[in-house]
């Protein structure tokens, strides 16, 4: 300890620079441009030197001992744009005056950027970090109820796909592409310093870990992209890190802010389907073409002609209301700062009986116990209810729900029978359950409670050495009820079916960091050292299911009422992560910036031989614009070059995968009885399981031109992920099916460009623009010697079996669609190249009106061997652009986002446009091939046609969306008594989408975050157009 003290003492000795005899000084006042009021605490620096000072309470500053010369002097303070006074001439022995007026700036957080365990001035940043501030970018321009929506299109290199239009839908986020095949590819979220629960890799498209956060509470969001920025998160950094900081109280008067909005939502697009007679006609034709046996025909001509028609999609849709209110109290005195907020969101879905609700409370407190000791807390409690009620499950065909089921349901069947009871299900074909009955009567909800809190203490051992300790926990409880009464199909045959699924997950974390700042030689040194320990428990269950209820009224509230109680389950998993990390920043003459970061992580999830790994990175930045030779710098106000290289990891695999697991194998022994035997898991243990490691190289430019009226950030990167965790097949005769191994690699390469401009600033009129565009190219480099692997089954099975429709292949991107290439339809007279039947008849795959499928291997038979790549779901370009115009109290924000060059697998059409007649189909099928209608792309009716991934389902998913348009009006002060600020706004979201996609919306991901099955539209909940009116008042 003593030696440490000595070391510290040595380190703390100030490095004095001798004052030159012939020096002068610079002095002046920093004021606010609008009011002329002096600004206290502003930092003033002589650009390109280490000379700096801060303003006092009167806004004055003095920088002494400046050698003679001509300088640029820059003043900065949070909340204002930095301004540079050029041409300040210092003469020996005299004081030059530089008074600087700062303009209040819209984007406050441009100046300070959170980088994980610390903040840094944006100019000193060496890594690739995208940022968005809450107040302006997220709220004023585009008010929304979901943080994930707010992120869409806002940051270069960050692809945010909101999985569907369901209220509270999850988003799948890719920072610089998918870096993993089977492990989670979603970024790490860190909210107020606490890592949020992982789990966004879930293939459930409705799951969203950010749902509990009210966007009104968000102060800033930073997205760490390159290895230098994410390395401090080591084994969790490979997919990028999203840092979310919530608002904190500020010194000053108590403030009360009310945000309130009300809106209506309606469907943006409708898709017509066949009516009753058309459907019956299709069905008869399909059966006849398949069997040529009239005894199989389901309908007579009279039944076809007299069929009634019911518009099921219309019966499920509605115009839905949404409201969002939040109240924030904040303030502070010299020692204590606080922020207390409460919020309520109620968003109805545009499908009846669906909704998303959120109640939340947040309490952030900072207290200066002494000059050197500060304590604080972040606490939040949120409750969310997501009532999806059987409108989205990613199923198609017989398991379709929601809007797809409505489009597929027998249009000739009335919703209710003559007695007024629901018709349970269609009688023929796929026997789809009545979607209107199900959505009206089935309860299927996700109720979540999250309690996230941390307490921290920060102690300034010396002014330069700070110690911070944080203890936090993250508690998540959920209770998902399901109930189907006997009046609808899923409950009818079992007299009511009820399920409750509960879970109680908790995480505990302790982090300790030391930061040290001092001048060293010609620059400044910042050191960060830390240790962290995190433990987590995933405690799912009990899950319980019961049937045979004496009555429906009890619903799921007492499963004991059920006569048959079956299917109970629970699961307990725990894991731990121990870490040590350090970061060194050295700023040489404000021009050369060096960062070295290392994290060493030990994770319980890996094999006993590979528990620990180290993730180092290094970065260098050069502030070219601060070089003396750039003093008369032409257009550049600011110019910085960045370089970084480093390694990060991915530990987001399920726990216990390295162990030889025994699993339950239930079997019947004796009639009516079950015995649960234990058998070895089909996945063989691998004690050598280790991390996936991503190595990324990044080069970037940050530039500001014409007094920062144009700023741009450009990055190019290449990352290679190695040791991918993949299930490697084993011959089944070994007793195992596969083993999780570290093989294979994936590469992501890309470029990102962000631009923002101040186009016009004249008097009360301002016009700003911003845009970002990114291109990422993902490529599988190696699969452990195999050319391709089948991606395994998705959770939906059936046609959507991943083995049948997607492929992971060397040289191709992840999310490659795989299936049968259709080049048209067979016509009368075409020469059939396929092998005739044994009886010598024409091959059934080339009967006129059938799909002309490419016989890829030219063996004369169309079978699984003829499948081929049908396209990639990865966009070639994506991004967003916006304009902000303000004229006095009026502001107009318009924001577009876009995606170009990606494919969408519209698997809905396996049932809706294949002319098989098993279910009702889209109106396009009226144009199906018949001997008299041959000029079409829709095949003839045929219920024997195989349901497979045809290229006709693979559609262009490019789109341009008017994401938001907001018109705001700033009311004059005190128009509302006591309100120092009041603003009204009108927002439109998703008002139009330009796209050639034939489904509801090309931005869709029915299989959630899984990188292998991207861009699947399987009955996705349609996205709404929203018009929102809101009010913000601050007292």
């Amino acid at each position: 300890m003593k030696r440490f003290g000595v070391l510290l003492l040595c380190a703390l000795l100030p490095v004095r620079v001798g004052a030159a005899q012939d020096a002068g000084s610079i002095a002046g006042t920093v004021t606010a441009q609008e009011s002329g009021a002096p600004l206290a605490g502003a930092g003033v620096a002589v650009v390109g030197t280490r000379f700096e000072a801060a303003t006092g309470a009167d806004g004055r500053y003095t920088i002494a001992n400046v050698p003679p010369g001509t300088y640029r002097v820059r003043a900065r303070i949070i909340g204002y744009g930095s301004t540079v006074d050029t041409g300040v001439v210092v003469v020996a022995g005299q004081t030059a005056t530089a008074d600087i007026a700062l303009q209040r700036q819209a984007v406050q957080l441009e100046t300070v950027v959170a980088i994980g365990y610390a903040t840094v001035q944006k100019k000193d940043l060496t890594g690739a970090v995208a940022s968005a501030s809450g107040e302006d970018v997220l709220l004023k321009a585009a008010p929304t109820g979901a943080v994930s929506n707010a992120l869409q299109g806002k940051a270069a290199g960050v692809q945010v796909v909101v999985n569907s239009g369901s209220p509270g839908a999850g988003a799948s986020v890719r920072v610089r592409g998918s870096a993993s095949i089977t492990a989670n590819s979603e970024p790490l979220y860190v909210v107020d310093g606490l890592p949020a629960m992982q789990g966004t890799g879930s293939d459930n498209p409705t799951y969203n870990p950010l749902n509990e956060i009210d966007p009104n509470d968000v102060e800033s969001i930073q997205i760490l992209k390159d290895a230098s920025a994410t390395a401090v998160y080591g084994s969790r950094g490979a997919n990028g890190v999203i840092l979310i900081n919530t608002k904190r109280g500020q010194r000053g008067e108590d403030r009360l802010t009310l945000e309130s909005s009300y809106g209506v939502q309606s469907i943006g697009k409708r898709i017509p389907v066949l009516n009753g007679p058309q459907y019956r006609q299709l069905r008869n034709e399909a059966v006849w073409n398949a069997t040529k046996d009239s005894s199989n025909l389901p309908y007579t001509a009279a039944q076809i002609a007299s069929a009634p028609s019911y518009d099921y999609p219309d019966m499920l849709l509605r115009t839905a209301a949404q409201q969002n209110h939040s109240l924030t109290l904040s303030g502070g005195d010299t020692k204590t700062r606080y922020l207390l907020s409460g919020n309520y969101l109620n968003q109805e879905g545009i499908l009846i009986n669906t909704r998303f609700q959120r109640y939340g409370l947040r309490f952030n407190l900072d207290r200066d116990m002494s000059e050197r000791f500060r304590v604080g807390t972040n606490l939040s409690v949120a409750r969310t209810t997501q009532a999806i009620n059987w409108t989205e499950n990613g199923g198609i065909g017989a398991s379709a729900r929601g809007i797809l089921a409505a489009m597929n349901f027998d249009p000739a069947m009335p919703p209710k029978n003559a007695n007024g009871d629901w018709n349970l299900r269609a009688i023929l074909g796929e026997q789809l359950e009545n979607p209107l009955a199900n959505i009206s009567s089935v309860t299927d909800e996700r109720n979540e409670w999250r309690l996230v809190g941390s307490v921290f203490g920060e102690f300034a051992v010396t002014p330069a050495l700070h110690l911070k300790t944080t203890v936090g926990s993250n508690v998540h409880f959920f209770r998902d009820p399901y109930f189907a009464p006997r009046t609808v199909a899923p409950g009818a045959s079992v007299q009511g079916s009820a399920t409750e699924n509960t879970g109680y997950d908790r995480e505990f974390i302790n982090e300790n960091t030391l930061t040290y700042h001092r001048a060293l030689g010609p620059g400044t040194l910042d050191l960060l050292g830390g240790a962290s320990a995190q433990t987590a428990v995933v405690d799912s269950g009990p899950y319980a299911h019961a049937e045979q209820f004496p009555l429906d009224a009890i619903e799921w509230y007492n499963l004991g009422y059920g006569a048959t109680q079956q299917q109970v389950g629970s699961l307990y998993q725990d894991w731990a992560l121990l870490s040590m990390f350090g970061r060194l920043n050295y700023n040489l003459r404000d021009r050369y910036l060096f960062t070295i970061t290392t994290r060493r992580d030990g994770s319980s999830r890996f094999g006993r031989n590979n528990k620990w790994a180290t993730f180092p990175s290094a970065a260098f930045a050069w502030r070219v614009s601060d070089e003396p030779f750039m003093q008369d710098r032409g257009p550049f106000t600011d110019l910085k070059l960045r370089l970084s290289y480093g390694a990060t990891g991915n530990q987001a695999v399920r726990p216990y995968q390295s162990l030889p697991i025994m699993v339950a194998a239930p079997l019947s022994i004796a009639a009516g009885q079950e015995f649960v035997s234990l058998r070895p898991s089909l996945t063989k243990a691998n004690p050598n399981l280790r991390w996936e490691t991503t190595r990324q190289f990044n080069v970037g430019i940050d530039a500001g031109l014409f007094d920062n009226r144009l700023t741009l950030t450009f990055d190019a990167y290449r990352s290679v992920t190695k040791d991918l965790l993949l299930l490697v097949d084993l011959p089944r005769f070994t007793g195992y099916a596969n083993q999780l191994q570290n093989i294979g690699s994936v590469q992501n390469r890309g470029v990102e460009l962000g631009l923002s401009t101040l186009n016009v600033q004249r008097g009360r009129f301002t016009w700003r623009s911003s845009m970002n565009v990114s291109a990422n190219h993902n490529k599988v480099l190696d699969l452990g010697g195999q050319q391709y692997i089948r991606p395994g089954t998705s959770r939906y099975g059936w046609f959507l079996d991943g083995n049948e429709s997607f492929i992971v292949e060397v040289g191709q991107p992840l999310g490659s669609i795989y299936g049968y290439q259709v080049t048209g339809l067979w016509q009368e007279g075409d020469v059939c190249t396929l092998t005739p039947t044994p009886k010598g008849e024409r091959n059934p795959d080339c009967i006129p009106g059938e799909y002309k499928i490419t016989d890829v291997n030219r063996d004369g038979v169309i079978d699984g061997k003829d499948r081929t790549l049908l396209g990639s779901t990865e966009p070639k370009l994506f991004g967003g652009f916006g304009n902000n115009v303000s004229w006095g109290p009026l502001t107009l924000d318009v924001f577009f986002n876009f995606s170009y060059g990606n494919k969408v697998a519209n698997v809905n059409n396996v049932f809706s446009e294949l002319a098989t007649g098993f279910l009702n189909e889209r109106a396009e099928v009226l144009d199906r091939w018949t001997p008299t209608n041959t000029s079409t792309t829709i095949p003839r009716a045929n219920n024997a046609r195989a349901r497979r991934m045809y290229s006709t389902f693979v559609e262009d998913g490019s789109f341009l969306r008017l994401q938001t348009i907001t018109l705001g009006y700033q009311l004059p002060p005190n128009l509302i008594p006591g309100a120092h600020v009041a603003r009204l706004y009108l927002t439109g979201q998703n008002l139009f989408v330009l796209s050639r996609y034939s489904g509801f919306d090309p931005e869709v991901n029915s299989i959630g975050g899984d990188s292998r099955f991207r861009g699947v539209d399987a009955g996705a909940y349609p996205r709404a157009r929203v018009v929102n009116f809101g009010l913000t008042v601050g007292f």
Binding site: L467, Q495, Q566, Q567, S570, P666, L667, A685, L730, G735
Partner: protein, 509 residues
């Protein structure tokens, strides 16, 4: 102050770094192999785990039953069944990648592996009653024998593993089928010696001497015909052991009562897969396989994948044969009032009738693997091939006589005793009659595919003829069966061949 704070902070950090044992996983919600196979109860559980694949989708719960029945001339798929064309078994359009013919491989090797684990580890566990250990090991031996019997019948030669250690060899080649079948004989005879003759109903589904004897009779009958080994006498001998166990086994008076859930473990059932009725776990999936979709059974509707007899099958019964009335129906009712009762355009298999009619929960019907009636017919067939026509006809007629009893006390005219209506008494004619009887008696029990192969070996061309002519729907449909002879052997799964270059593929694939 400074020093103390620092020491605390460093202490916390070092403690965090030092608690490395936090990284050792100690799972709570499952056990690992390291801690298992130690107690008698572990060995019992491990033995039951070797039975478990029989009732899974790989085998008799879905693919094996579906494929052998759908590919035979007995069953057709309802043409309105979704994805009709890609149900490869109906059209014999499978290849080395289709689950219909590759899943059974997985299920059978699961049995082999789990049996070998029991045999390799169970011997070292001390039991209070050593007889129980011996019996459990005998069950594992029996299951391994049965799995290799089916592997040989479906794929011919396969990798032959007889200990847990063998399974570590991921580069195994195919052992010649004669050697595989020699192991079957060895396993089944060894098991037969140690298995109990009878079991209480609480052990329904577990192997007995009778089950081993039937499996041996099955093996020798198959070898004698399909492999032309002429071991008819051995087939007859093993079948006769079952037939003579009259204190244990016999024919029920009422054919239907054999299958009714009320009569679990009746004297005609030698080995069955019982249905636990625990939904979605261990219950049989009869509902979806055979119940008609039009009635909308259960919560997901019926499936009727193998629920329809071919017109040939339905028309083949002698007029008045009680078994036709029992095995099929043309009318049924749904619990859904909107659907109500329906007359079906085509008959539907209804031999397995769950207590609840298939409505509301899983069926409680057991699936028979070996029945007493089959012992009689195996014996009849073997005797006929041995030249003892009279004995053959006597045993054949025992099965027919029971069918004439109808519900038990009837005396129907059909099926009349073979030979009393002027039938030919040649060996071929009697053989054909026995195969026809097997078709009627054992309909929808997963036997017909193998019967066609055996008969084809004895009467070349029979297999293709039967499949080509007896599926009326196919006469007009554009879809044709792929009747190339190589389809008689199933392909070794392509995934296995890709992983193990030492494996060879069956001809034609």
């Amino acid at each position: 102050m400074t020093t103390r704070t620092l020491s605390i902070a460093l202490g916390i950090s070092l403690a965090a770094a030092a608690c490395g044992d936090m990284l050792t996983e100690t799972p709570k919600s499952f056990t690992t192999q390291d801690g298992f196979y130690k107690t008698p109860s572990d060995v019992r559980s491990a033995t039951f785990a070797a039975y478990q694949p029989l009732g899974t989708d790989d085998l008799w719960r879905w693919w094996l039953w579906l494929t052998v029945d759908l590919a035979s001339d007995q069953v057709r798929m309802h043409p309105d069944e979704p994805n009709y064309q890609t149900y490869h078994p109906e059209f014999l359009r499978w290849d080395a990648t289709t689950s219909s013919v590759t899943s059974p491989w997985n299920g059978l090797y699961n049995i082999v592996f789990r049996a070998n684990v029991v045999l390799s580890r169970g011997g070292g566990v001390t039991f209070p009653d050593p007889a129980e250990r011996q019996q459990l090991l005998a069950e594992a031996t029996f299951l391994r024998g049965y799995a290799y019997l089916l592997l040989g019948k479906l794929y011919d030669g396969v990798p032959l593993f007889v200990s847990e250690a063998d399974h570590a060899n991921a580069r195994a080649g195919r052992t010649p089928v004669a050697q595989v079948e020699a192991q079957v004989v060895k396993d089944l005879t060894a098991a037969e010696a140690d298995l109990p003759a009878t079991r209480p109903k609480s052990e329904l589904g577990r192997a007995t001497k009778g089950a081993a004897q039937m499996a041996l009779a099955d093996l020798y009958l198959w070898r004698s015909s399909f492999r032309k080994t002429g071991e008819w006498q051995l087939a007859a001998d093993w079948a006769k052991k079952v037939i003579d166990s009259t204190r244990i086994y016999g024919l029920n008076d009422d054919y239907l009562s054999t299958f009714l859930p009320a009569n679990h473990g009746n004297k005609e059932m030698i080995w069955v897969i019982p249905s636990s009725t625990v939904q979605g776990r261990s219950s049989m999936n009869l509902g979806c396989l055979i119940l008609p979709r039009i009635l909308g059974f259960g919560s997901g509707g019926g499936c009727e994948v193998i629920g329809q007899p071919t017109d040939w099958q339905y028309g083949s019964y002698l007029t008045g044969d009680y078994r036709k009335d029992v095995t099929y129906r043309t009318y049924g009712c749904s619990s859904d009032a909107n659907i109500g009762c329906k007359t079906f355009p085509h008959p539907n298999v209804y031999k397995y009738r769950p207590t609840n009619g298939g409505v509301g929960g899983p069926p409680d019907t057991d699936f028979p693997l070996y029945r007493y009636a089959e012992a009689l017919l195996i014996y009849a067939e073997a005797q006929n091939e041995l030249g003892n026509a009279a004995t053959a006809v006597t045993y054949l007629n025992m099965v027919r006589a029971r069918a004439r009893k109808g519900t038990g006390a009837e005396s129907r005219t059909e099926p009349h005793d073979y030979g009393t209506a002027g039938e030919a008494m040649t060996q071929t004619a009697i053989r054909d009659a026995i195969f026809q009887e097997r078709d009627w008696e054992l309909a929808h029990e997963g036997k017909r595919w193998f019967d066609l192969l055996e008969l084809d070996a004895l009467e070349p061309g029979y297999w293709a003829m039967a499949l080509q002519q007896r599926d009326s729907i196919l006469a007009t449909a554009p879809l044709q069966r792929d009747l190339r002879t190589f389809k008689q052997r199933w392909p070794i799964p392509l995934t296995e061949i890709n992983l193990d270059p030492a494996l060879t593929q069956n001809t034609g694939y």
